[in-house]
């Protein structure tokens, strides 16, 4: 214990140092942890042990990169959006095209990794939660790819809102389980997936879709998404011969943003990192998803982080036009980066995101997801105030076809 405390202190004092990076015990400063029922502790420890073992395993790494290249379609391009840059006037804007991943979002990077791990661990069944359905679809695909049985928990409200994703999951052989407890949305889908996992810990693997939940999920999901940032760093050096001035990404649970930010943490003096949360209908309306900006510290879904809650610590429902940002919690590592001032967190309203959605579609012929439209909307505010020698990279985390039905 003493040793851990020392380590923790050390990690706290030097965020950008190697201590922090190799610090795999599930705490980011005081954030993170495993606030779960006793019955899940052994399953999480088993997962932690296996994850750290396979992370270093040469064969596992080779297999993963094979599938990332040939199945997911990596590397994704880093695209200079010239027309958008000209229209906004100011900084040069690049888009990291995660929307070109198989199934149209970054989610597949994580699910291929986790389902491959599940297979190595000898698990027979895959479960997952989904809100908008993107993670559910990506899990269903990975389960089909590796021939595993898959159940996806989805709130009944979301099933109605995102019917095409339900059809996709079923096509790929997944069973969609309707969750009608609580608010009938993503947070309840996570609750129900965890409850199910408690009853089947021996043979079932839970594929969590973001950098949230108990350790080792925030660390593991981040590691599977870091490929976004690694590619970006190499690509911008090839194209521009230098690092960008800004990297902008949307934050729901926080996996696409941490994926692109992470390799730039050592450069955070010169590269400004901006996470954009859902401002919904405005902070005062209380209909938003800005957990980092306007939530409080607390324990939710197994981790200590920021969460939207009332005066007595009851979890409040989030709101956003974008289903992927409609979540009252946020990954614990983001909480830590906020506290340390490494990443700046802003918010964008529904209406601003919609405008950016239209702008990118008309300027570049790229229809962005509502989630990514938040990052684009913040870019539209920032770019005109910068000189043309400045470079902004936006993580275009997903494509917007899924959002057209709900427009």
């Amino acid at each position: 214990m003493k040793k851990d405390e020392k380590k923790l202190k050390k990690a706290n004092s030097s965020f950008r140092g190697k201590e922090y990076r190799s610090y795999g015990n599930g705490y980011f400063g005081t954030f993170g942890g495993i606030y779960v029922p006793e019955i899940l502790v052994s399953a999480l420890k088993e997962l932690e042990k296996n994850y750290f073992k396979y992370k270093k395993d040469k064969k596992f790494k080779e297999e993963l990169s094979f599938y990332l290249k040939n199945y997911v379609g990596r590397p994704t391009p880093l695209y200079y959006a010239e027309r958008l840059s000209n229209r906004l006037g100011g900084a040069r804007i690049y888009l990291k095209r995660e929307d070109l991943c198989h199934l149209g979002a970054h989610k597949i990077n994580n699910t291929v990794g986790q389902v491959l791990l599940a297979r190595k661990m000898g698990k027979k069944f895959i479960i997952a939660e989904t809100g908008a359905g993107q993670h559910g679809v990506a899990t269903a695909a990975a389960a089909a790819l590796f021939n595993m049985s898959c159940k996806v928990f989805m709130g009944s409200k979301d099933i109605k809102r995102q019917s095409s994703n339900v059809i996709k999951m079923k096509l790929m052989g997944a069973e969609v389980i309707e969750v009608s407890s609580g608010s009938k949305t993503l947070k309840d889908a996570v609750n129900e997936a965890l409850r199910y996992w408690v009853s089947r810990v021996d043979d079932t693997y839970y594929v969590l879709g973001s950098v949230v939940g108990p350790h080792p999920y925030p660390t593991m999901v981040r590691d599977f998404q870091v490929i976004i940032g690694k590619e970006t760093k190499k690509q911008i050096m090839d194209i521009e011969g230098r690092l960008p001035d800004y990297i902008i990404a949307c934050v729901g649970g926080g996996s696409n943003s941490i994926g692109i930010f992470y390799p730039f943490l050592d450069d955070a003096d010169s590269v400004k990192l901006i996470g954009v949360e859902a401002g919904g209908k405005g902070i005062k309306s209380k209909k938003h998803g800005a957990s980092l900006g306007y939530g409080d510290k607390g324990i939710f879904h197994g981790a200590f982080s920021y969460v939207l809650q009332d005066d007595y610590g009851q979890i409040e429902e989030a709101y956003s036009i974008s289903a992927g940002l409609d979540y009252p919690g946020v990954g614990p590592e983001h909480a830590y980066m906020k506290e340390k001032g490494i990443v700046k967190y802003e918010y964008i309203l529904d209406s601003e995101a919609l405008e950016a959605f239209n702008t990118l579609s008309i300027c570049e012929g790229i229809i962005p997801a509502y989630e990514s439209s938040h990052a684009l909307a913040y870019t539209a505010k920032l770019a005109p105030s910068l000189d043309s020698d400045k470079v902004i990279i936006v993580n275009l985390s997903g494509r917007g076809d899924k959002d057209i039905d709900n427009k």
Binding site: V36, I39, Q309, Y312, G313, Q314, I315
Partner: protein, 272 residues
Amino acid sequence: MYDGKDSPIERVFKKLRKNNQKAFIPFITCGFPSLDGFFSLFETLDKNGADIIEVGIPFSDPLADGPVIQTTSKIALENGINTDIVFNSIIKIRKSSDTPIAIMTYFNTIYHYGTGRFLKKAKEAGVNGLIIPDLPLEEFTSYRSYFNQVNIDNIMFASLTSSKERLSAIAGQCRGFIYCVSVKGVTGIRNSISPEVIDFLKNLKEITTLPLALGFGLSNREQINQIKGYCDGVIIGSKILSLLLEARSFNSGLKEVKNFALDINKVLKDRI
């Protein structure tokens, strides 16, 4: 401050052990079906055999609970129940009952209230123990000092999946009794007992002298007859709450709870 003496909860078990009897520990949600209904329910259980009563502070996202306690928590929250109302309710109960009370709630409720402040208020209200399903050993360690300061029993969980080393460590931190989870799953009614539960209890007995109370899934006297020889008490929540949820009227539900409590308690108090 922790004084090393037996706590009120530990005294209950000591007394029962002398007579080779077992504790009946019902669980109810504060504010369900209403605040007045909760008081009547508490009184009914208190007068009909309950040795310790577990009172739930409702939480919006009860991860370890099945449909029944999810429903009662939701109803209680809709009735406007909050942490302060629960403490005030216990103050009121303490005017007429000294039956030990353990509070069950999820850790965010406590953390948000302020862990130190929560424990102090709980102690002042007359709470004897705390049960926090999402605060395992790893996380409890950071908060242990708060418990010692106010001398409230920290009741921890042991599960079928906990390793032997882990169970010893849990027993080392736990006070009052060990909450032994009889299923791989969440709370809720089951009709049988898995044979591995008996081995689990036998193993625990070798590890610790703390009282063992078995909970999750218990609902009938057959189950209790099977396991009572291996533990010191049973916790029953979902079954009792479902009697009320399914009853035609509150009064008829209360009558059923009374009969159930008397029946179960008879099994627990009959010497083996």
